[in-house]
Amino acid sequence: MSDVLVLAGADERDLTQLDEYRAVGGYAQVERARGLEPPAIIEELNTANLRGRGGAFFSTGTKMKFIPSQEQNPKPHYVCVNADESEPGTFKDREIMNRVPHRLIEGSLIAAHAIDSQHVFIYIRGEYLDAFESLRAALDQVRDAELLGGVTVVLHRGAGAYICGEESGLLESLEGKRGQARSRPPFPAVSGLYASPTLINNVETIATIPKILELGGTEYAKIGAPPDSTGTRLFCVSGNVVKGGNFELPMGISMREVIYDLAGGIPDGHSLKAVIPGGSSMPILTADQIDVPLDHDALRALDTFLGAAAVIVIDERACMVQLGLRVAQFYMHESCGKCTPCREGTRWMVQILEAVEAGEATHSQLDLLLDVCDRILGKCLCPLGDAAAMPVASYVVKFRDEFRAHIDHGGCPFGGESSLDGLFAPVDQHTHHPVLEEGVPA
């Protein structure tokens, strides 16, 4: 059996066309699913052990089971597809929407049936105009062919805010508000969109569902690294590699294979320094850790996560302080401003990292930086704060000598030769909160 499931057929056929998608069995699974009782579908997904592909790796079937029945809660039930892919390093959902939009629509219709819902909203990242157009064209075809089965599917474009990829920020935004995180509980399953029961899943997760029904949960669960990391992932490979892009493979492939076999290794005779396994919010791995299999448990053992399976490869030319600064600047820019530890903490992180890079910090400020990270971690309503604190703390811990060298050297030891030198961050063009003017805390 081919390793490719989510993108299956897309190399041979133009699966943006309904007749082509139907020629490879498209929309047969939703038809079959509609003949099944919803619990049978959820059972199949649980047998497959499908876990969320957006980064949290939560059981999809369990999430569906949290949705109350229509008898328990007679409000309309909603399916929200999270297509607001914004994590730096991640570009898989875009490829799914562009190349297999019908598989996403079919998966959405099956998910709707599984939770007894008639309403699907697909929240598409504002910057992904191409993906929106692809889905809109596919949806028109499905509507004309009368395959929606009474379900309404609404495509909703975002307008540029990373936080709207977080489920509660997405719901706020879809309700026409600023996309600020919500306090939980209540969880979306109980009180989500318009305070109604809501299932929210990532694009890749939803697009996997038709293939699970086609293969059967038991067969699907044999793929990848069972029992926990079953199935395939679209690994998004970027950074210092010969050939970046999306590669769909079973989970459990090693990081070494991804970097050297799929992405062609590191160009121009440079050497591997570090690699980020799951997107910019994930703790970093050093070059000696790349024999790790890319599955959830193996990466947990190394204190990091597979996240959204975005592999960012970094060669020896990158200054880790500059990397940390640029990552912290991103999360500072994207913090919604609701929780103090994230809103203020990301600013402190940026200020300290700027001082370290400029050679104006003291050794104790490295401990202060870790302390700030610690005071953000787990102390906010949503994971955005963690997304800043976890990676930056990992850079300090794993590359402490390099951070110390900046302080001892009175500046960046790369002397202007780092690959990230002088990288401009758009924090001042459109900042939600002006950066504090006061100096760096001692």
């Binding site: 875009r94 504002g126 307008a159 540029g160 970027s238 690959s419 758009p426 063009q429 939600h432």
Partner: protein, 161 residues
């Protein structure tokens, strides 16, 4: 056609979008997007009144929403919007050189518009083309694998359009 010339047309378009949602407020982002297009790429103060009128919201509410999102512009922009990703994946592969080349060719800094009103240059956070750095968005269409050497040709092409 501007909204002021035909407010009923704008209202009908927004109402049709709002009808897709259980609550019409959900249409505020699409309505702001249409208003921005009609106002030449940015949202002047009257745009918030127009959107508010169409959806039964206050102008202040609409502005409050718009200021949260990066793709809404609260100051005039050039006829073409050039946005260079400078997040880490593009950064590792020379995004700063690409941004520098645009600055040099256009004579403006990120966030500024050329004096002829033709181009606004911005640096932006990751726009999701990380495997093909550097990614440059030109009016929301993404160009992949752009290098600093490509910049003069891109600008020539855009000027000739």
């Amino acid at each position: 056609m501007t909204i002021a010339e035909n407010p009923a047309d704008f209202r009908r378009e927004v109402e049709a979008i709002a009808a897709q949602y259980p609550e019409s407020r959900s249409a505020v982002l699409p309505a702001l997007r249409i208003a921005q297009e009609r106002h030449g790429g940015w949202l002047p103060p009257e745009a918030f009144e127009e959107v508010g009128d169409a959806l039964g919201l206050t102008p202040a509410y609409c502005k409050g929403v718009a200021t949260f999102y990066d793709m809404f512009h609260l100051a005039p922009v050039g006829r073409k919007l050039l946005e260079v990703c400078t997040n880490i994946c593009c950064g590792l592969r020379g995004a700063q050189d690409v941004l520098d080349a645009f600055e040099r060719e256009l004579g403006v800094a990120p966030g500024e518009t050329t004096s002829d009103g033709e181009f606004t240059l911005r640096a932006v956070e990751c726009i999701g083309g990380c495997g093909w750095p550097t990614v440059v968005a030109i009016d929301d269409r993404h160009r992949l694998s752009v290098s600093a050497a490509d910049v003069p040709e891109i600008l020539k092409e855009l000027r000739d359009e």
